[in-house]
């Protein structure tokens, strides 16, 4: 603690001086519609050049106007951009691409693929396209959403990843050969995010297909990570999946860890799962205690809690968005405003930003057009309607167009100091960056549906209410409809129960005392297997329930002063 204080003394002062006084807001409001159209034009500029020059390769190389395979060989940019097409309202192209993918993509290939990237980009992309395909006017088969060609493709891709989970700990290898499984001699070191970023896609797959294997392996990996957290409640960056020893012990919220935390929250929301949420809340406490300084999040040693790197990483910018999902809007906004100052300094977010020095870090000066800050802006705009967030959107559009637009697409910024460009356009540019920008400028998009619209679909398992909003974005910005998870196998039993209750209701008899169904608690079974951990976990749960009488699956209401917390104004806690 003392060391940190010493370290942070000058840091805080510096930041107090460096607040961007004078960047006042323009009197007139932003022309949201015109920015929305500019984002649309950006999308097509990149998308059409990909189709023209790079397809069927994974990615476009914008400086040389050709394509290359990067994460596999499955026309990744096309899969990733599919649902963006629908969000932009281009139904016909969506339908065309669905056909192209069904014909052209083959996962029986001798390729070493990243388990993590294949899951979030391919499985996630296919799942969301499958769930949105009816909305996009694709002729769906009778069993939809519990069956369909895109779902089968997603399932096939996911099955190719399952061999990676065959480890003593249940934590997956980082790389798998799609044809032969895990290569002999494969390194057992995987980053934390590469272990804990499956529950959203895999649980969705399990609920839709009825095969529990996907959700089971994802849960097991999450639990192993939880068991291996340090005494002060932090996780490191890389772990050996055979021995469960931490190889990289830097703890933070950014690269290597980021989407693990994200998926604990999103998994909790998607599955109404208290256990996942309680894990996150415990981590959140430790993160606040050890890594948070002046609304920045630093990197600390996972066992001691001492600061190891006083940097802000571009990837960390997802955090405010995540906080807003669970109702911590005030803190989210404060951190967001810090991050925004970095954007204003460079016209993008460098991969690493040294906070006390106020400058980029050597070899980490690039900005590959990442979406995280814009993603947070979109979530926060939903919560606050603060025009500052639209201003970030404006800045992003202006910067990306001025700096990285080339004849063949949009190029990664290799160095933010001089805006030199690199010959790459990552698939997340079309999947995420453009999508979040567009959604920021399109408050009436169907994705923002607050539940006033919905579809009723009849399936062989009964009637389903779908597309009622509340979409959960996976970490590659592929939206999953939470209602779809309640639509397939389990639906029938619930329906019978409901039918019984309705009969009772109309017969006006209260025969028995009602017993409520408890929230699904997956910890029970696992605890029995591991008595040592069970005791500690139960103790944790007990203290939890003592401290907070409220449900874990809820957000706090916003405080009174949040009414005035716009245009950069922040309020300190009253305590």
């Amino acid at each position: 603690g003392a060391a940190m204080q010493r370290f942070l003394g000058p840091l805080l002062c510096l930041w107090a001086l460096r607040l961007p006084a004078g960047t006042g807001t323009a009197a007139r409001g932003l022309d949201v519609a015109s920015y929305r159209e500019r984002v649309r034009a950006m999308f097509y500029h990149a998308y059409e050049h990909y189709l023209e020059s790079a397809f069927p390769y994974d990615e476009l190389r914008p400086l040389t106007c050709d394509g290359q395979d990067t994460w596999g060989s499955f026309s990744l940019t096309l899969i990733d951009a599919l649902d963006t097409l629908l969000i932009l309202g281009n139904v016909s192209e969506f339908q065309r691409v669905v056909n192209v993918l069904q014909e052209g993509v083959d996962f029986d290939i001798d390729v070493n693929a990243s388990v993590f990237e294949t899951n979030i980009r391919v499985v996630g992309g296919l799942l969301s396209a499958h769930l949105l395909s009816r909305k996009a006017g694709v002729e769906v088969e009778a069993g939809w959403p519990c069956s369909g060609p895109l779902l089968r493709m997603a399932e096939e891709a996911a099955r190719k990843l399952l061999p990676a989970f065959q480890t003593p700990t249940g934590m997956p290898y980082g790389t798998v050969n799609l044809l032969h499984g895990v290569n002999p001699g494969e390194t057992p070191v995987t980053c934390t995010a590469g272990i804990g970023t499956f529950i959203v896609e895999f649980a969705t797959l399990s609920h839709l297909t009825g095969d529990p294997v996907f959700e089971d392996v994802a849960r097991k990996a999450l639990k192993t990570l939880w068991k291996n957290r340090s005494d002060i409640g932090l996780v490191g960056n890389h772990i050996d999946v055979i021995t469960a020893k931490w190889v990289a012990q830097d703890a933070g919220i950014g690269a290597g860890v980021d989407s693990y935390f994200e998926y604990l929250v999103k998994g909790a929301i998607l599955l109404q799962d208290k256990e996942l949420m309680s894990m996150f809340l415990e981590y959140n406490k430790a993160i606040k205690n050890y890594t948070k300084f002046d609304d920045w999040y630093l990197w600390v040693q996972m066992y001691k809690g001492t600061v190891s790197m006083p940097v802000f990483q571009s990837l960390e910018a997802y955090w405010p968005g995540l906080q807003s999902l669970i109702g911590d809007v005030d803190n989210a906004m404060r951190t967001f405003l810090n991050y925004y100052t970095v954007w204003k300094q460079f016209g993008g977010l460098p991969e690493f930003y040294n906070i006390p020095q106020g400058y980029t870090v050597d070899k980490r000066e690039g900005y590959p057009l990442r979406p995280e800050l814009i993603e947070s802006a979109m979530y926060l705009y939903r919560a606050t309607r603060d025009p500052t967030l639209l201003e970030l959107g404006r800045d992003a559009v202006e910067s990306i167009e001025k700096i990285s637009k080339v004849d063949c697409g949009f190029a990664t910024i290799k160095d933010l100091r001089d805006h030199r460009l690199d010959n790459r356009m990552e698939s997340f540019f079309l999947a995420e960056t453009i999508k979040y920008l567009y959604l920021l400028f399109d408050p009436d998009n169907f994705i923002h549906n607050d539940g006033s619209d919905f579809d009723v679909v009849v399936t062989p398992y009964g009637e389903c209410v779908l597309n009622a909003g509340g979409y959960i974005f996976n970490t590659e910005a592929h939206p999953i409809d939470p209602a779809a998870l309640h639509c397939c196998r389990k639906r029938k039993e619930e329906q019978w129960e409901v039918e019984d209750l309705m009969r009772e209701f109309y017969s006006r008899k209260k025969t028995k005392k009602f017993t409520f169904n408890r929230a699904p608690d997956h910890s029970e079974g696992e605890n029995a297997k591991d008595p040592e951990d069970a005791s500690s976990q139960k103790a944790g749960e007990k203290s939890n329930s003592k401290k907070s009488s409220h449900s874990l699956l809820s957000c706090p209401s916003q405080s009174f002063n949040s009414k005035l917390a716009v245009l950069g104004q922040v309020f300190l806690d009253n305590t």
Binding site: P20, A21, G22, T23, G24, A26, A27, R61, L63, Q68, I269, Q272, S324, L325, I326, G327, R334, N338, T341, K344, Q345, R394, D395, V397, E398, K402, H419, N423, D450, G451, S452, F454, V458, E463, G470, I472, H486, E494, V498, E499, L501, M502, E504, Y506, R508, K510, F516, P520, S551, L553, S554, C555, P556, S557, Q558, N561, L564, L567, G568, F571
Partner: protein, 867 residues
């Protein structure tokens, strides 16, 4: 590949401003040239930008606008401070763009940090151009000092020397203040006329005076502090009065509102403000209220004069209000209530729980000259009008038992220039209990006060005017007077101004109506109590309304009502299955409807709420709409009375029909799903049939069963569609199955052919094996023969050796015999020939063996390859 390493440098910079623009655009970042340009002009504005920066792009237009108006006096230079080859980037290190620097000759840079709006920038540039205001006459001095913003006056006599000592320092301090105080709130003026200076008791040239309204004004203490620009500026900043402050958040992360609002309750006044405008009548009016409010010490020397100046300046009635009011209260305290009546409150009246007598006074002084007030009699109609509006406001009284007198001011609905005061008090508790127990006629409360009252003839519980001529001296309560109120109340307000052109969003957040085109709004925000009050938006924002607003806040039992912000964007849709409730419709939907109501508190941003949408939609579709409402309220956009607030989201409340006040909360630790919600509703709904059945009940039963029937019909419909879906799925499966069967058949056939092929291959392999064995046998035999041959040759060799020995021995014998017998020689050569032929034969056989092993080896290696 090489394409991987391809990179591209940033594009070369191009013009940021158009070439026709009055702004000189140094888009290559030529800072050295920019410095050169500065020599040519007295006032220079630098606009440092980055071409990719959205804020620079947005500010470009504003700068151009200012430049087009001031280009003849000010040089505008824009410098691209991003391009990494440019001088500017190399020398300056900015954390944000754009940065605006101003120079007044060699003085600078003065950074502009105000709003990026043309009018504000222009105002600031003009301040830099003329930091000192020349005050030539007495009236101008009074004008200067009457302004609500602090003024600093320097007295310098130019008669003695062309440049009096200290003048330059004073001038510089004015410029210096603009660096610190970028909003330019402190104004600097200079007086050269001795007689004018005497007005503010400045005698010596070189003295500096800081004017203050509520406190004593100050003269710069030269003997204590050095007379430097920085010191003067610091002194003025530290000692200035902040009676009312502009709030101008800069847009970056800031604690401005946090810090200001934590000081205590704050009155935020939103008015549209043009800094360039010559006159600001509304602002003057507001600041006058602020001055009055803070005027605790009435013995201000300069005050009456200043007031006078203010009065003579303003053409209309607007400014005379507070003035008149003040004088009135000072001179004729009683005359404040020229027209009062005692009102006895009926018991059913809500105020009567705390107060039973109210004193109602109509005051017409507002906007009218004071002498008109002393009209001896009251217009009865006016009193009645006041009474009406008083009863409309009755709900604003808090229900607190108290023996004190409370007064509240209300603007009359009928005339903007009159208001009335209501002072209520409780009279004699015995009296009250007497009334309630004996149920006698309600009598005039003679005991306590208002002895002027005559007996009420109506005698019943109708609100009535008791006496039209009464006024009670002790009712002249100081709280009704705004002058110096800030020092007398324990609920002191801090006063703030916000420009609604820039910060209207805060007004909207506090509940300003979005439809109004007039952007004027006032609200009192109490951060600690988490409550805010809003000045009625139907009233125009003028001095008197503001005064009343402040007064009503200051009284002990404030009649102000906590303002509840309502979401105006929600419209009632009949087709929505889930009813959207707002602040305004809450009571009606939840309490007044004759149905069971399930209410969900949610927020759009809360992930846990949004993922429940589908469950509530299903529930609403399931429950009979004629007896159930499934509703929800977005509590981020809709405030509710305290008792209905919730601290967690989602929260689910059930309001059973006929027992609406007994709402129940869905238990938090149960999962929110359809069966649980149904059980919850069934458990708490009032549909029990225990009471004996009457006709009405039968009817109800019929309605219910009708509902059941229609529910079942819907179910059947659902089942039908489900069946058809199943059929489709069945067909689909059938098709898939037959395809699979075909596939299987095809595979079977393939298997057969494969098996056949396998068999032939097996045969072939057997044959090959046989030949292989045979060959092997042959080879073995061959080897054996060779062995035999080798053995034979070895025998032969041995024999050969023996023979040689034999020959040798024979030779020896022969030699010895030779000497004896010559003719025997020919006989000896024959066996020697024989010997030679034999040795060649063994050599040949040996060679053959070597050849043999060679072929075996090559055969082996070729076999390897075929494998």
């Amino acid at each position: 590949s090489r394409a991987k390493d391809v990179t591209m440098p940033a594009k070369l910079p191009v013009n940021f401003f158009s070439t026709r623009s009055p702004v000189i655009d140094l888009f290559r970042g030529q800072l050295d040239y920019a410095d050169q340009l500065r020599q040519n002009s007295e006032i220079v504005l630098y606009f440092f930008y980055a071409p990719w920066c959205g804020q620079s792009i947005a500010a470009r237009e504003e700068i151009e606008h200012v430049a087009s108006r001031l280009s003849d006096q000010v040089l505008f230079v824009a410098v691209n401070c991003w391009w990494n080859q440019g001088k500017c980037r190399k020398q300056k290190h900015f954390f944000y763009f754009p940065v605006i620097h101003l120079y007044h000759q060699s003085f600078g840079p003065i950074e502009y940090k105000g709003p990026m709006s043309a009018v504000y920038i222009e105002k600031f540039v003009r301040r830099v151009m003329t930091p000192l205001l020349y005050i030539s006459s007495r009236s101008k001095l009074l004008d200067f000092l009457s302004n609500y913003e602090p003024g600093v006056v320097g007295f310098f006599e130019f008669n003695a020397s062309p440049q009096p000592p200290g003048y330059l320092t004073f001038f510089t301090s004015a410029l210096h203040s603009l660096k610190k105080d970028y909003l330019g709130t402190i104004r600097f003026g200079v007086v050269t006329d001795k007689r004018v200076a005497e007005e503010i008791s400045l005698v010596h040239s070189g003295s500096v005076y800081l004017h203050r309204h509520a406190n004593t004004s100050l003269i710069y203490p030269k003997d204590i502090m050095n007379f430097t620009a920085e010191n003067i500026c610091k002194w003025a900043l530290e000692n200035r009065e902040m009676l009312i402050r502009w709030l101008r958040p800069h847009g970056g992360k800031s604690l401005l509102l946090n810090n200001e609002l934590k000081k205590g309750p704050a009155l935020l006044i939103f008015i549209p403000y043009n800094p360039l405008a010559e006159i600001h009548p509304l602002l003057d009016e507001i600041t006058k209220v602020a001055l009055e409010y803070h005027k605790c010490n009435k013995s201000q020397a300069a005050e009456p004069d200043l007031q006078h100046v203010g009065d003579s300046d303003s053409p209309a009635f607007d400014s005379s209000v507070t003035d008149a009011h003040l004088r009135l209260s000072e001179t004729f305290p009683i005359a404040k209530y020229p027209c009062c009546n005692t009102v006895v409150l009926p018991q059913w009246h809500s105020i009567s729980r705390t107060h039973n007598v109210c004193e109602l006074c109509v005051n017409q002084t507002l906007g009218v000259k004071p002498n008109k007030v002393h009209v001896p009699h009251c217009n009865f109609l006016e009193i009645e009008a006041a009474l009406d509006s008083f009863y409309l406001q009755e709900h604003t009284f808090f229900q607190v038992i108290s023996n004190t007198i409370e007064c509240s001011n209300f603007l009359s609905f009928y005339s903007p220039f009159s208001y009335y005061t209501a002072c209520c008090r409780t009279v004699n508790r015995h009296f009250l209990s007497f009334i309630s127990s004996e149920k006698t006629i309600f009598q005039t409360p003679k005991v306590a006060f208002s002895s002027h009252g005559k007996k009420d003839n109506t005698q019943f519980s109708i609100p009535h005017i008791e006496d039209r001529n009464c006024f009670i001296p002790d009712l002249n309560i100081s709280s009704t007077n705004i002058t110096g109120l800030s020092c007398r109340t324990n609920k002191t307000l801090n006063l703030y101004l916000l420009d609604s052109n820039l910060f209207w969003i805060y007004a909207e957040r506090l509940g300003a109506s979005r439809s109004t085109h007039l952007k004027e709004f006032a609200a009192i925000v109490d951060l600690k109590e988490e409550v805010h009050y809003v000045l009625d938006q139907n009233q125009s924002l003028v001095g008197p309304t503001l005064e009343n607003f402040i007064k009503n806040f200051s009284v002990l039992y404030s009649p102000l009502k906590r303002h509840l912000v309502d979401d105006p964007s929600v419209h009632f849709h009949e087709e929505n299955v889930v009813t959207e409730v707002t602040t305004n419709t809450f009571h009606e939907t939840v309490f007044l409807s004759a149905k069971n109501v399930l209410l969900l508190y949610y927020a759009q941003w809360c992930g846990f709420c949004a993922s429940l949408n589908h469950i509530f939609i299903q529930l609403a579709r399931l429950l009979p709409p004629d007896s159930f409402i499934v509703a929800r309220i977005d509590v981020t956009r809709n405030d509710l009375p305290w008792e209905f607030m919730t601290d967690r989201l989602p929260t689910i409340l059930f309001f059973p029909h006929q027992r609406k006040e007994q709402s129940v909360k869905f238990p938090e630790d149960f999962s929110v799903d359809l069966p649980n919600l149904l059980k919850f509703i069934l458990h708490h709904s009032s549909l029990s049939s225990s009471e004996p059945c009457t006709k009405e009940c039968l009817h109800k039963e019929a309605v219910l069963q009708q509902g059941h029937i229609s529910h079942l019909e819907r179910e059947i419909q659902k089942l039908r569609s489900e069946i058809s879906a199943l059929h489709q799925a069945h067909d689909q499966l059938e098709a898939q199955l037959s395809e699979a069967r075909r596939e299987e058949q095809r595979l079977q056939q393939q298997k057969h052919t494969l098996e056949k092929q396998h068999k032939t291959l097996q045969l072939h392999s057997e044959q090959l094996q046989a030949t292989y064995d045979q060959k092997n046998q042959e080879l073995l035999e061959m080897a054996e023969k060779l062995q035999e041959l080798a053995d034979a040759s070895e025998n032969l060799l041995k024999e050969n050796a023996l023979l040689r020995i034999l020959v040798a021995s024979r030779g020896g014998k022969l030699q010895s015999k030779d000497e004896i017998k010559e003719p025997l020689q020919s006989e000896q050569t024959l066996p020697e020939d024989n010997d030679i032929s034999l040795s060649t034969a063994t050599a040949a056989s040996e060679e053959k063996r070597i050849d043999n092993t060679d072929t075996i080896e090559t055969g082996h290696s070729s076999g390897n390859r075929t494998e």
